[in-house]
Symmetry: C2
Subunit: 753 residues, 2 copies
């Protein structure tokens, strides 16, 4: 890494100071003249016919300007969750928005909500996978299941499954399967077979900032301008345009600073708010309360995985069979197939057969949450891998190394894995003092567990632009929202390529009208795709600068170099021109050179998968069942560490969310579909005291072929293996295997007994 001047240096976030000083503006900070505040009337039933909504009393509340219901909304096919808008005739989950009260203040809107009388005719609801699949179960979509959200595609890769989705009048939203070889003979070959059913619950992304949107209509054009806490301004633009039935060029979306997204802010209520603003002809602001966020956003789905693994005596896997059921909630999410895909891709298995079923229930619909599905898959897969190791008395890391997929190995769909470092992260963990010293930990009564998991990574075309200002600063213009330090990473990469110090680079995000296209800040792809476009644009900007200097000095471009903020002739340090002076020559009346303005355009053809291996060291209180996580080691292949500081932050942040999966978090519903955990008083997000005292990260760099400087996305992988590592550590400490997340103290205690 000594070849690089800026990338690889731990660098604080460029926007960190503004954030900690309170200067960053978030969507809820916006005040538009004439703006109305929205507050939902939400369904109290999980399933009911709506017989009537009496809004008269609400309209009499001072400050209430309007009460909108489905009849004020475009009557469109609900072909996505965000197109449900306001419930039309029937509600299908408790918490579903039925009406939107608009008032001059949030308090007045809330007062209005209290005055709304909804006449429900309650209907039977099913809220679990088994109940939903039962004969004669009430159907969420009796007239046919709408097309799915395609979240698998949006977060992983297009999956070419064997079976196409089936659509009939049932609560089955879709089914997929993958297979290879002969599973029966595979298991016949096996000398050890392990098997289990694993469940992971509905968990919430739990961003500090709730869903927040402001929309302003343009009464003249019918267009709308939105400011939103969103990971994906361009997707919001498209969806709002589609819902309103206008060209996307008439929708302008500014992606505001995001107070946490984690997959949950890829567009949800923006079309509703835009339609509301159009309906009343005034700006409308909707900021969900925490309760609404829990009731009516888009948390991660409950998953049940039945898995069976067979291995030879030497540990080589011979067969895998799996069955995934994913509770989509009320709207098709189409993710189960991707779980099946991951199940059969992470390890080399010659014979496998995996099935998946997306199931509809009368609950809030599911959304993406950091590496969607991966924590569930790895929890199942790596719990059983440890059982195989146990049964065969093989070192668990060696067993994984023996079976880990390598670049070129076929994934479940037969496509080869691109370059990736599953093996390398395992090797690094094997060499880590925490693993080498595991016997000492055990001697202290602790259990040590490991796991490995990852994220295939996504791709999406992206563009970027670079301009040089007269102060010598390189301005980098991108359309991707910064969730996790990508602006800082772009700064380092552009500085590296352009040849200046990072403080001479500014990254600008604007809006969908003027920013170069980028996809959602999701799928661990911003650095990999938009970053590559930034590198290309910065390289081109440098060429433009050199070509101006070459003309000024009458030398060849090859004889020039950028040093200390100036272009100079190699070997003639006195012959130099400052970058700002070059810009000034191209940005003034009568100037003879075109402005320095460069573009980058990227379409990555392959993904850049990222793997993380983790080690957990736990102590289990046999009296209470409480699990104390003493140590967590997070090893990750990041391809190239552009900014080790933010990467370590991502690794620790992901693993901390993994701790939540493992030990604390669950959205609990009663049998009627009523959410029992509707606030952070009832729903346990890990706090700083729940993180391990010893929290270590180790960066591995297996360069990706196409990433900028070899970088891979880093955001999602670290959440994948944490729960499995902790489960394996609990098993190591206690001999008991928990197959349901979260592994709360009561559950552990009950298993211990």
């Amino acid at each position: 890494m000594t070849e690089f001047k800026t990338i690889g240096r731990p660098t604080p976030l460029v926007d960190g100071r503004a954030k900690v000083m309170g200067a960053t503006r978030y969507t809820p900070d916006l005040q538009l003249p004439g703006m109305l505040h929205g507050r939902f009337v939400t369904s109290i039933h999980a399933h009911a016919d709506l017989r009537g909504i009496d809004v008269a009393q609400a309209l009499a509340v001072p400050g209430v300007a309007a009460v909108l219901t489905a009849k004020d909304m475009p009557d469109i096919t609900p072909s996505s969750r965000s197109r449900l808008l306001l419930a039309r005739g029937r509600v299908i989950f408790a918490g579903q928005p039925i009406a939107l009260v608009l008032a001059t203040s949030e308090a007045a809107a809330e007062d209005g909500v209290q005055q709304i009388v909804v006449d429900y005719a309650p209907l039977p609801a099913v809220v679990t996978i088994d109940d939903a699949l039962a004969e004669n179960a009430p159907l969420v979509w009796p007239e046919g299941v709408p097309s799915g959200a395609g979240e698998a595609g949006a977060h992983g890769a297009d999956i070419g499954s064997d079976a196409k989705s089936k659509r009939k009048a049932s609560n089955v939203a879709g089914q997929n399967s993958f297979s290879r070889g002969d599973v029966a003979s595979g298991f016949a070959e096996a000398e050890v077979v392990v098997e289990g059913t694993f469940t992971t619950p509905m968990v919430h992304q739990s961003a500090i900032e709730t869903q927040s949107i402001v929309a302003e209509p343009n009464p003249l054009t019918g267009g709308v301008t939105l400011w939103a806490s969103t990971q994906s301004p361009f997707d919001v633009r498209k969806e709002v345009a589609n819902v309103l039935g206008i060209p996307e060029s008439d929708v302008r979306v500014t992606g505001m600073a995001v107070g946490g997204g984690f997959g949950g802010k890829n567009g949800l209520y923006e079309p509703l708010v835009a339609a509301a603003a159009r309906a009343v002809g005034r700006p409308v602001r909707l900021v969900l309360t925490r309760v609404e966020e829990m009731l009516a956003a888009n948390p991660a789905p409950p998953v049940r995985i039945h898995l069976r693994l067979g291995a030879r005596r030497d540990g080589t896997l011979t067969a895998l069979s799996g069955n995934v059921h994913l509770d989509n909630g009320c709207y098709p999410f189409d993710l189960a197939g991707f779980l099946a895909f991951m199940l059969a891709s992470f390890y080399r298995v010659p014979n496998f057969s995996v099935y998946s079923t997306d199931v509809l229930t009368f609950k809030v619909s599911a959304g993406a949450y950091r590496a969607p599905g991966a924590p569930s898959v790895v929890f199942a897969l790596d719990s059983l891998m440890d059982e195989v190791a146990d049964r065969l008395n093989i070192d668990p890391i060696e067993l994984r190394l023996l079976n880990a997929a390598c670049p070129g190995d076929p994934m479940a769909d037969g496509d080869p894995w691109p370059s990736m470092g599953m093996r390398e992260v395992l090797e690094a963990l094997r060499d880590h003092p925490a693993w080498k010293g595991r016997e000492e930990s055990r001697a202290r009564g602790r259990g040590v567990g490991v796991s490995v998991g990852g994220w295939p990574g996504g791709t999406e075309p992206a563009a970027a632009a670079c301009a040089l200002n007269r102060d010598g600063i390189l301005q980098v213009h991108v359309g991707s929202v910064d969730l996790n330090g990508t602006a800082t990473g772009f700064t380092l990469m552009a500085a590296e390529v352009f040849g200046v110090a990072p403080d001479q680079v500014r990254v600008v995000f604007s809006d969908t009208d003027s920013a170069p296209y980028s996809g959602a800040s999701a799928g661990s792809k911003v650095t990999y795709t938009t970053g590559a476009a930034v590198v290309q644009a910065a390289r081109e900007a440098k060429q433009q600068v050199l070509s101006i200097a070459a003309e000024e000095f009458e030398v060849a471009v090859e004889d020039l170099e950028v040093v200390n903020g100036a272009v100079r002739v190699r070997g003639l340090p006195s012959k130099a021109i400052k970058l700002g002076d070059i810009a000034n020559k191209a940005m003034r009346f009568g100037g003879r050179y075109p402005p320095v303005f460069a573009q980058g355009r990227i379409a990555q053809k392959a993904t850049a998968p990222a793997f993380s291996a983790q080690l957990a060291e736990v102590e289990v209180d046999r009296e209470t069942g409480g699990v104390r996580l003493h140590r967590l080691v997070v090893v990750q292949d990041v391809g190239r560490a552009i900014n080790p500081l933010t990467i370590r932050g991502q690794m620790m942040g992901g693993a901390t969310q993994g701790i939540g999966w493992a030990l604390y978090e669950k959205m609990e519903y009663d049998s009627q579909g009523q959410l029992l955990t509707g606030s952070w008083m009832d729903y346990a997000v890990p706090n700083i005291i729940q993180t391990p005292a010893v929290f270590e990260t180790a960066i591995v760099e297996v360069p990706s072929e196409n990433g900028p400087f070899g970088a891979r996305g880093v955001g999602e992988a670290p959440v994948a293996p944490t729960a499995a590592a902790i489960a394996n550590a609990i098993a190591d400490a206690t001999g008991i295997r928990l197959r349901d997340l979260p592994m709360t103290a009561p559950r552990v205690l009950s298993a211990l007994k």
Copy 2:
């Protein structure tokens, strides 16, 4: 023109509907949370020492938050008018801002202003050119004249004059001269010599919207965001950064819709408002009242030209000598040399000698106003040309054709004229029915006069970007403010090049952080420079689209064409893909093609001069001296008429302002430097009833070498010859020659007597 599909079609302004419907947002419409309104305390003396400013009473006014004076401003060298900020120690014109009262409303600020007590020690002031140049005249800048604004450069071309500016302790801001051949022998050769002294007054740009600025400080970075009614966001960015002493990358300027600029909005009070916002840490809004706009903005300067012309019997000019004095007001404007340049460039004269002097007086400083200096120059030159024609009994158009400069002829500085159509506009006017039928008009007691004049045109590097959206709309991103239909012109040009209908193009202006660089919307250069960048970007975008389609269809790019919003294979109309579908392939998860995102970068090396020939038909009331303009014919070479509708609007608008110069407008000062015409009750801007009943335009197209499709800038030329044509028409009607503008009824009456 039949080869073109979109350019050349008269097209209403793309932003016209929003403007007439009241949907356009102007700077004064902005409301920022916590914003303060500013109101000036202006000097009541043209020259005085400031002994003290008592703000205590003002601060007690409810709503007043602060009163700023020079001590709250950066103490910088006043090296531009806008750097005077608030008067420091001394005032140098009546109307100069001394303090800025900031309050929660404009009314409260105004109340505060009334409570300010300024202690002046009045000093003698000089307010005319002759008084300012007199021995022992009080000096505007006794400690040395600051460097000039360089407006000549900003509106024409760099002028290489013989003599460099002289700077000493005097009221002379600068002097220039140009000469060629031997003037004495030139006049000796002449068979007729005419001579005169011409004056044109201070006139105001009279935009409907006054100077309007909002600035918001960023307390964390020290940076500032501005929204301004400005022709030049990038120049404002630079000037504000320089005044505040921060990098320009920390200043973000949004050019708002401009309610009229005409040269007067290239940056004036933005640094003051930015400094004020920083001083109080709150957003500050300054919207000048009409009186402040008249008192303290930057109107066109008073000019005096002494001119002598010699010609042979056949009409060939043999010699020209001239002396230009330009009253800069209190700050150097450096324009006089450019007037001298134009005087000696428009006609071929083998022997000439022209001098110019920029003079400082205790009045508001001058600014640019549509073709700065050209109306004055053409008034002098073409009045004398008519006298030559008269004396030699030569047809005035033929005389002009005989002497008109042609492409390749040397300008005053020896550089050759680029392609231009001075001759062609004269020929078109010669063939116009109004000229052919002039005897009939004369028979009705009217006078007919002609004139020709133009504008050399400016250049400035510019960039532009184009992106294709999923709705098939091509988004064009530029940094130039639309004053006069440039967005509509860009729309037509981009549509032409890209191969779509104009409604499939959107032009986006953003701000200096994200927009491609463009210079000021001034100098008749936006279409010529930024337009060329737009054409280049649209062409490149089309190539990108074709290359994606070529890969999709597996055909060569050459076999593809864009027809009806789709790319199709030539000869195979069934094999087609919609533009929106191409965009969608490049703007979606897993897309294999990079987004369509193209740039254009232009640095024009030559200008594109524009000439207008005009004919005025007048009737003079011999009882009142009132001049009735019956007919005005405006012929102009526009290179290529991108949008004839807006071009005709520009031609008529420019000529209407020329009518103001000719007959009505004058800012009158008394001997103490007090403005006597401080409102539109006292200052006569022509109204619709002052425009001619018959107002005709004729477009001539002599393509420029480098302009997009051959286009030239059109904004400035049409104001140049109007006053001269009207003066010549008055002379034709009455035999009297008026040499002072405006030719008001009392002046005409007095001359008639």
